[in-house]
Amino acid sequence: MKDRTKYFAYPYVLWIIIFIVFPSFLVLLYSMTTKESNGLTTIQFTLENFKKFFNPLYINILWDSIYLAAISTVICLLLGYPAAYIISKAHLSKRNTLLFLCILPMWMNMLLRTYAWMTILGNNGIINNLLSFLGLPTFNMLYTRGATVMGMVYNFLPFMILPVYTALSKMDIGILEAADDLGANKYVKFRKIILPLSMPGVISGIIMVFMPAVSTFIIPQLLGGNKNMMIGNLIEKLFILNGDWNFGSSISIIMMIIILIAMSIMNKFDVDKEGGARLW
């Protein structure tokens, strides 16, 4: 008797073909053709779109995006790891509540949450009102690079906490008890056992935060005041305003390649080859 359950995977295969493989192919095709290409008969291949990107103007935008995304990722890690550790060590009854609180903001639309930050950070916003009420000087917070980073950290923090938490909570208590028996103190235990075993979760977390952060366009637009263009803004602009889909596509392809390289480097550090807390 043949196993027929695999047929249930076909709708998903189809889904991938229609909504992932085919669009990716189109992006690749656009990136390698000229603007004048109109249908199959007039198609003209070129590498001009990729060459155009190697202009200091665009390279700077790329570096800046990577820089801001990297800062956000580091902050997420510094905030998220202890949070995940505390949640995993919490009593079972509290643990679910803590996890729930972590996911709760994600029930609301990201755009709304980002708009809410605008009223918090604004010149006459909640924080500045509180400061002036206390007789303290007020700050320009909204529409700065700091606000952009903050928006990214706020929006993507759960993507760091969850995989790290999964890795930590799956840890074999027996190993920790063995370490205790052999006389390891708290710091040695953390450095030699807990940290290495949670690395797969950390790596998933870094990828899950870095990827959306480096390509976001709505956060720098709303919180950054459209002043510091990130690569996502450039792509959006090229598509929506300039109508240069070919150049926009080539930048998207370049971004994909960069993310792929980053992921393969990250996977080199991944000790747990069995899958563990990895998301893929």
């Binding site: 047929y7 076909y10 709708p11 295969v13 189809l14 229609i18 103007l57 665009y58 700077n60 935008i61 604004g122 010149n123 006459n124 320009n140 529409y143 005041g225 459209n226 002043k227 263009m229 450039l234 602009k237 090229l238 598509f239 929506i240 305003l241 300039n242 109508g243």
Partner: protein, 346 residues
């Protein structure tokens, strides 16, 4: 293997039918593309009930964005409302249908001043909707507007409290006028000078935004903003510390008009909708919503006295004389776009 292929093909068919089958509905659909915050939406409902049709309503924020949306053809729009220079470009590119004015009897209410304009010299393609200008909305308590000049937007005393528009023609327009050039320049040197001026201005800017400036000004979070006149009227109604100035160097006069793109499948219905929007009642309700200056000869007689005294609504004749209408710079537009991208990426 063959069975698998058949199965995949079957599922593919089902998905495609599910995705495309929706249009078999008998009721007609009217697909509209308009600027954000640019119509009293209850009018849409009313039209739907009156004619038993469905309306699909999409919005955009700048004419450049509209052009891409209309051109990409993802949605076959039946009616678009946009600005004169983009209409001119689309007429030149054959993207707009001629109107049958027999279906638009209310066209007679449109003020003659706004007919026979350069973007549609023979009144064949478009029906004016609203008109207005570009100027500076400022807070009287913090800003000295006596200079009456675009240079106000470059005043270092208001660093981080100035809002510019995230719209290339408008922001370039202000810079070009300050330099004493035409807003429609096709001289690369002049455009480069304007770009340098805008780059110089960047450290002073709080945010580049479209549509959001009035809210920020009403909350007094910024000192001044480059805005369209209707935005100024609505902001001034909410906060009496705000005022509006049309700089002495001259400004832009624009006309937004309704037109039917060549992609339409429902020209007659779209014409009926244009006619519906040209009624006095619909116009008055739209004025109440968008606060721009009206092109309607009857509606103007019924607006409030207060509104007529507001120079951002009832724009003074001496200012109009110095205004310039945007024209389609044809291929040169690519240079505007390029310089604008360079400016924002700097």
């Amino acid at each position: 293997m063959k069975r698998k292929l058949i199965l995949i093909a079957a599922v593919l068919c089902i998905v495609l039918i599910a995705l495309t089958g929706c249009s078999k509905d008998q009721t007609q659909t009217l697909s509209i593309l308009n600027y954000d915050i640019y119509m009293d939406k209850s009018l849409l409902n009313e039209f739907e009930l009156k004619y038993g049709v469905k309306i699909k309503y999409d919005t955009y924020s700048t004419p450049e964005e509209m052009y891409i949306k209309a051109k990409a053809g993802a949605s076959n729009y039946d009616l678009i409302i946009s600005s004169e220079y983009m209409i001119e470009r689309m007429i030149n590119e054959g993207m707009i249908n001629k109107l049958n004015f027999d279906n638009i009897p209310n066209y007679k209410y449109i003020d003659e001043t706004f007919k026979n304009q350069p973007y549609d010299p023979n009144n064949e393609y478009a029906v004016p909707y609203f008109w207005g200008t570009l100027g500076i909305l400022y807070n009287k308590n913090n800003v000295d507007a006596s200079s009456d000049s675009w240079a106000m937007l470059w005043d270092e005393n208001h660093s981080q409290r100035i809002i510019m528009m995230d719209s290339q023609r408008d922001s370039f327009g202000a810079a070009l006028k300050l330099l004493g050039y035409s807003m429609n320049t096709v001289d690369e040197k002049e455009l480069d000078e304007a770009k340098e001026l805008l780059i110089k201005q960047r450290p002073l800017i709080m945010t580049y935004i479209t549509d959001g400036a009035p809210d920020i000004m009403v909350n007094e979070e910024a000192d001044m903003a480059l805005v369209w006149s209707g935005e100024a009227v609505s902001a001034m109604a909410e906060n009496e510390n705000l005022d509006f100035v049309i700089p002495k160097e001259g400004s832009n006069i624009w006309i937004d008009a309704m037109f039917i793109p060549a992609t339409t499948k429902n020209q007659e219905l779209a014409e009926k909708f244009i006619d519906f929007l040209c009624t006095t009642e619909a116009t008055l309700r739209n004025i109440d919503e968008v606060w721009y200056s009206t092109v309607h000869t009857e509606a103007i007689n019924e607006v409030d006295e207060e509104l007529l005294n507001n120079p951002a609504f009832n724009i003074p004749e001496e200012d109009i004389e110095k205004m310039e209408m945007f024209r389609d710079p044809k291929e040169f537009i690519d240079l505007y776009t390029e310089r604008w991208t360079e400016m924002t990426a700097e």
